[in-house]
């Protein structure tokens, strides 16, 4: 590995370490490093590369992935993660396991969850290299898995409480957008399940601290607010319009006729 690459790598490590990492500097260093990696043929390694070089390359990409989360760039995280997968799966036997692997995998799962890509979430979960009944023992993976379960069954209160239980700082970034998602979920449930609701309770259910937050949210969803009685009334969904789907019926009848013709 070229010495220039190594010195850049050390510089990246220095500026990334510590509680207050310099995001901007890391960003420029990372793009320089990526070019360096491409020149060294390590960005997408092929064949038998030197394990030590591979570890450095993996380290750089891992820092890149975490840096993307800190600078709130999900697309860039996606790219880093895809590149990292080569190291995690294809070189799993050649390299010592990385201690950042599971945090990053967990972050990826959380990201899929917040983007509501549930099918991808499960596919990714299935391909994790740990046995399914041991998932609960890995805090980084268990966190998104629990979140998904709670979201699916509707235990939103648990999701809300999980904000504080995040296993790593970076998870919090996703949790914020997750809260937005569950607020919308809860709101749609309330529209269906309640006729009226006291404002105080509505704020509680939607995890709002101040009435004004609730008011803006309610206006966005078009709820009727009775300020004097301090209640919210949900508009009932009108009885569905009765329209006779003639065309569809004709189509299906013709289809049946054709099929029957074939059978008889």
């Amino acid at each position: 590995m070229a010495t220039s690459l190594r010195s850049l790598y050390e510089e990246l490590n220095r500026s990334f370490a510590g509680p207050k990492s310099d995001l901007k500097k890391c960003g420029t260093l990372l793009s320089q490093l990526k070019i360096g990696l491409i020149e060294a043929g390590l960005l997408i390694p092929q064949g038998n590369a030197n394990p030590e070089d591979l570890i450095v390359a993996r380290d750089i990409l891992e820092v890149g992935a975490i840096w993307s989360i800190r600078s709130r760039d999900e697309a860039s995280f996606d790219r880093y993660f895809s590149q990292l997968l080569t190291f995690y799966t294809d070189y799993a036997s050649a390299l010592p396991p990385s201690k950042r692997e599971y945090p990053i995998r967990g972050l990826n799962l959380t990201r899929l969850l917040t983007q509501n890509r549930i099918a991808d979430f499960h596919t990714t979960l299935e391909s994790l290299p740990i046995p399914a009944d041991a998932i609960g023992d890995n805090p980084y993976i268990a966190h998104p898995v629990n979140l998904e379960r709670w979201l699916m069954e509707g235990s939103y209160h648990k999701v809300w409480n999980a904000r504080t239980g995040a296993p790593a700082e970076e998870y919090k970034y996703f949790i914020e957008s997750l809260i937005g998602t569950i607020r919308n979920e809860i709101a749609s449930c309330e529209e269906a399940a309640y006729t009226t609701l006291p404002m105080k309770d509505a704020a509680l259910l939607l995890f709002f601290d101040t009435p004004s937050e609730l008011l803006t949210f309610a206006q966005k969803r078009g709820w009727q607010i009775d300020l004097t009685g301090q209640t919210i009334t949900f508009a009932r969904k009108d009885e569905e319009k009765k329209e006779f789907p003639t065309e569809r019926l004709i189509q299906s009848s013709l289809l049946y006729a054709r099929e029957l013709e074939q059978i008889v």
Partner: protein, 499 residues
Amino acid sequence: MPDVEMKPAASKGAADDKKDAEQKPKEEPIPETPVDEIKGNAALIERGVSTIEPRFIHRALRTLTSLRKKLDETILNTAIEAIYPKDSAIKSSLLSWLPGSHAEKMDVDTSAPSTKPPPEPVPEVEIYLRLLIIYQLLKSQEKHPKALELTQQTVEKMQASNRRSMDPIAAKVWFAVERVYELAADLADARPLFLAAQRTASLRHDDEAQASLINRLLRSYINYSLYDQADKVVSKTTFPESAANPQYARYHYYIGRIKAVQLNYSEAHNNLQQAIRRSPPAKVAPGFYQAVHKLFVIVELLMGDIPDRSLFRHPVLEKALDAYFEIVKAVRAGSLSGFASTLAKHAAQFEADKTYTLIVRLRQNVIKTGIRRLSLSYSRISLKDICLKLHLDSEEDAEYIVGKAIRDGVIEGRIVHEKGWMECGAQKNAYGMEVSELFQRRIGYCLELHNQSVKAMRYPLNAHRKELADAEGARERQKELVKEIEEGDMDDDDMDGDF
């Protein structure tokens, strides 16, 4: 539990054989000894190649499974000696793979078959014999490396020769390749080989090898839980329509698995049903049958249906599906604690079956069933009681869960927050647009079922010949009758007798 781990592989082998076994009774009596059988098959292959009729080769391959079990080294030795001329290079190369072939034995044998030195057989026969040797080598653990070596050589030879008449045998060889790699090395190592071969096969329109190879690839990916890649294989390839039923059954099973992981349960359900329908009789290939049904039960539960009770009484499935039956009972009862304890009890088995993560997803179904039961039995129930009855952790969550169930249309009702209870509404009138849609879906399903069943039917190749012969005979008889009438020596008595 070693037998569970072995199942996919064993079921595959069984899946191949099952069809073969099914059709065997129709065959004319097969030569008694395995040596004769091999010789007969070699002759069949010769004939198939010379007449360009893959039918004969198929017939030779049909006995592969039963033959495989009867093989030993002496049999192979004698057969090879008999098939190849005395000083053929291929013969010695084939024999070198068999440890039983000592030099003196060769001397003894060479003198005997020299009476009728046949011409050098076609390369297809050589590949066929190699296939037999591979299976023979696989029988003992310490010969696995040797089998691997032979397989690699065979594949090279097969690809170098590039003969279309080789295709049916090649499809069988690919299966053996997978088996060898699985037993002797790492299945993942065979993937580049399969990918390259799959490309070649599709370029050459080699349907049989293609069907076999797509299944090999899917299995190789799914074995390592690489569902993303497996899904891409499915979307980038077209499964040849002319593929044999066992290949189809496997293909549907793999797709069912992929779709189930992707939460596309109805698609998974369809595919698994096809797999079951196309699979050989349960007794012939129990492994495959059980594996498909395990997945099928879970997918059905995930769709919100309860599998048929009779399924769990099936003699082949009863024992294998025991743990799954308990899960079904827990889901049906809507009891979260029962579900959790069953899951914990059988975790090892589910993990081995690779259904654990799917079963974990059932948790929400359990809750939904529970809420539904409550809503049917009570007209008004407090959230606290719901919480207690369903073993939920907290009352706050119970409110959200019930709200979600109402929104998702699981139950009809509403929550009165101030009083902290749920009021259950009357059942909706069941006539409306949805009904016609539902009917349409069911009719569509029945039609699809019918069409698929028709497609899955197999006709014996020469059935129409028999009919032709019958017609021929009838015409003959008619002619005779006419002749007799013309000759006028037919009297009333004959008439009575004949008609």
